[in-house]
């Protein structure tokens, strides 16, 4: 039993950490997110050259053949730097769904494009009414010759404005919340009939609402398979986002601790006050517990445990990361006092990313109910 990283994993971790330290300080990051696209194309190409974009893909597809641990170490370091490049949206979500869908030449070519940085992708799964339910789909698909035509709307699609291709969940049959009848479709992001309304979320990501008016699409899977693929993607992305959140929490705790050691009031460092010390012990413990649960989850995936056991770990992780993120974020602002309220300090930016991660793919309250179902049934 050990929780050590392999030499390869440690090198990967170090290479992301080095990039963040040398090229992605808070000032540089702010310039990047101010771009029209919300990220830097130059950085993206660098990620491709460093091999990061190939991590989750099988070696047969030109990938690195990495596992959950490899993704974890990358996401954790990206989190520390609050990196805005769409790694989760394009590589893990879009790329992940492509990899899980049926093999064909177009799919393989697209994965190759993701790996070399030439293709950006997005996944449109949420709708205005769907909240956290993946099967709540109104968007409809109708057969049209060899392909399909999509009609409907999709909400808050990550990376939609830069994407070359978008994967859309749409209903081939059934009613709004039926688990059957949902398939995944590949559409060209600039195809006729697609209109996008761009907006920013509080963590500075560029997202878009989509209107699909008779949009031409090809099916990535059968109508019985769409929901299963989305759930599988959700499981993987929750673990990755939790690793990102862990990196953010580490950074926030370190920043706050440093501030409390240097900021003086009443003639002494405020970190000498017991009321503040105990709060920092609470946030330290919250971070360590999240780390333990992340390791537990990643180990269960790597060991190929039963999917019910993996899902239980993933749900527990999402709940704990959501709650700990709010605790650590809230305390970081509070202990920084007035400075914590300012936009010029990085603290608030990290906190906003944590809040966005909590809401992504089901917040702590929602996932705790699902956790109880899994745990109390066993």
């Amino acid at each position: 039993m050990n929780f050590d990283f392999s030499e390869e994993q440690q090198m990967l971790k170090d290479s992301v950490a080095r990039f963040v330290q040398d090229e992605y300080d808070f000032e540089a990051r702010n310039k990047v997110v101010a771009n029209e696209s919300g990220y830097s194309q130059e950085n993206w190409q660098k990620f491709a050259e460093l091999g990061w974009l190939s991590i989750p893909f099988a070696e047969a597809l030109g990938g690195f053949g990495g596992g959950a641990t490899d993704t974890m170490v990358v996401m954790e370091e990206l989190g520390k730097g609050l990196v805005a490049e769409p790694f989760a949206a394009s590589v893990l979500m879009f790329g992940g769904l492509l990899q899980a869908s049926a093999q064909n030449d177009e799919r393989d070519a697209l994965i190759g494009g993701v790996i070399d940085g030439s293709i950006q992708g997005a996944v449109a799964y949420a709708e205005a009414q769907s909240r956290f339910e993946l099967q709540d789909v109104l968007c409809r698909a109708e057969a049209d010759g060899e392909g399909y035509r999509l009609n409907g709307e999709k909400s808050l699609v990550l990376n939609a404005m830069s994407a070359d291709k978008i994967i859309v969940s749409a209903r081939v049959s059934g009613e709004q919340n039926d688990e059957q009848g949902i398939a995944l479709f590949l559409v060209d992001a600039k195809v006729e009939g697609i209109s996008k309304t761009a907006l920013r979320t509080m963590d500075a990501q560029l997202v878009a609402n989509l209107k699909l008016d008779n949009v031409a699409a090809t099916a990535l899977c059968g109508a019985g398979e769409g929901l299963g693929l989305l759930k599988q993607m959700r499981q993987q992305v929750i673990v990755a986002l939790s690793a990102e959140a862990l990196g953010i929490m580490e950074k926030l705790n370190a920043t706050t601790l440093e501030y409390c050691k240097t900021r003086k009031q009443f003639g002494v460092a405020i970190g000498s006050f017991q009321a503040l010390q105990h709060r920092m012990v609470d946030t330290f413990m919250a971070y360590e517990q999240c780390k333990s649960l992340l390791y537990r989850t990643v180990c269960s995936i790597e060991q190929g445990e039963d999917n019910n056991d993996i899902e239980k770990n993933v749900l527990a992780l999402k709940v704990m990361v959501g709650k700990a993120g709010k605790l650590i974020g809230g305390e970081a602002i509070q202990l920084h006092g007035g400075m914590g309220m300012t936009d010029e300090l990085d603290v608030g930016h990290y906190v906003r990313r944590l809040l966005t991660i909590n809401a992504a793919f089901g917040d702590a309250d929602y996932q705790q109910q699902r956790f109880a179902e899994v745990s109390l049934a066993s």
């Binding site: 050691k261 010390q277 330290f284 780390k291 537990r296 990643v298 180990c299 109910q369 109390l376």
Partner: protein
């Protein structure tokens, strides 16, 4: 990252299972269900462990330890808790034993260690005093040299099971003209010595676990002093380094949580099982998630120790989180019992009462409040973590 056990560890787990199946069965396990059986069951159990060579597995082999790795210790603890067998009484095997083999002389080792291993002596701990709780170093119980004896005057308090004890390991003041920590000595006191009065303290669970122990001109031979005079604080502190992981109580909490789920499936309110009550589900899942994390925090500590490194910063939260979870489980069990949680059963059978666990839930909840007070209160634990982990 690899959480698999090795072949040897799996074989060890089988050995533990076979031992527990044999040793924790029949008479002893039955007796444990009877009130007032605590000491008899503990002594019987510890002797079975000693026969197997497992009474103090983490002691050095030369003193009777089993040479277990941290992982073996974890495996034993998990299996023990899973069958509901008790932990050993800590005072002899986990507390004074390590101090004696680390700092005692050969005569003391030969005299006390075998008797500790075989539960021939029952030990209690004389640390806290009426005026020295969290601020332990301010203790005043005095030992004055008189020929070949120390003469002890003063009082100790919160002394668990002093009423059963043959011996007390005790911190006493041997010098008052220096920094408080520097004038303390570690001494072993025969509880049958003249001048000792043990006064029971009934706790909020209506039980007698605790005592006040008063010393009036109690004469203790100088040969009972451990190590050097005035070095007792150092010896007492070294205790903290022993068996740090088991303090989280993860294995026992897992068992209690699983029992709680079964009780909640049987407890019905308005035609709905309590396990389907949304508020109950929220609370039990809060606890389970923290416990799932703590289990891996403990494994991280074990993995670090197995490599010969220190226990790591994460070890500092084991007691804080472990006791928080223990108390939350007891609280939920008390609430689950509804108005039967208020019952003092006192000889009435469960059939007559119409409910099975209310009395136990009340006692468990009340007793569990002590967990965040003893062994360094939550607040002291946080002070220590702030200072030594966060550098504040």
């Amino acid at each position: 990252m690899d959480i698999n056990f090795s072949e040897a560890e799996l074989a060890f787990r089988d050995e533990v299972r076979a031992f527990l199946k044999e040793a924790w069965s029949g008479e002893l396990a039955e007796k444990a269900k009877q009130p007032g059986s605590y000491k008899e069951v503990q002594v019987g159990w510890e002797r079975k462990l000693n026969e197997k060579g497992w009474a103090a597995p983490l002691w050095p082999v030369e003193y009777g330890g089993a040479g277990w790795t941290p992982t073996q210790s974890y495996i034993y603890e998990s299996e023990r808790a899973a069958v509901g067998a008790p932990d050993v009484s800590p005072f002899g095997l986990k507390m004074v034993g390590p101090v004696i083999y680390s700092f005692g002389n050969d005569e003391q080792k030969q005299r006390f260690l075998p008797r500790i291993l075989n539960a021939d002596d029952w030990w209690c701990q004389g640390y806290s005093e009426p005026g020295a709780g969290s601020d332990l170093a301010s203790l005043k119980c005095k030992a004055e040299r008189d020929g070949d004896h120390y003469v002890i005057n003063g009082a100790k308090i919160w002394t668990t099971y002093a009423q059963h004890a043959d011996w007390m390991f005790c911190l006493v003041r041997t010098d008052s003209d220096c920094k408080p920590q520097q004038g303390i000595s570690f001494i072993l006191i025969d509880m049958n010595s003249p001048g000792i009065t043990v006064r029971p303290i009934v706790t909020i669970d209506s039980e007698h676990h605790l005592n006040e122990v008063i010393f009036d001109e109690v004469r203790v031979p100088v040969e009972n002093l451990i190590g050097e005079e005035n070095k007792g604080w150092t010896y007492a502190k070294s205790l903290l380094a022993h068996e740090r992981t088991a303090i989280a109580g993860v294995a026992d909490s897992k068992r209690h949580l699983s029992e709680l789920k079964k009780l909640a499936a049987a407890e019905v309110n308005g035609g709905r099982a309590m396990i389907d009550d949304p508020a109950f589900r929220q609370r039990i899942s809060d606890i389970e998630i923290e416990l799932m994390a703590l289990e891996y925090t403990e494994l991280r500590v074990l993995a670090s120790m197995s490599k010969g490194n220190g226990p790591g910063v994460e070890s500092s939260l084991l007691k804080l989180k472990g006791t928080e979870i223990q108390q939350s489980i007891q609280e939920l069990k008390l609430d689950l019992a509804g108005h039967f949680g208020a019952v003092v059963q006192d000889g009435i059978t469960a059939e007559e009462l119409g409910h099975g666990y209310g009395d136990a839930a009340r006692r468990g909840f009340m007793f569990s409040r002590a967990a965040t007070i003893y062994g360094g209160s939550d607040e002291v634990q946080k002070n220590i973590t702030a200072k030594f982990v966060l550098g504040l």
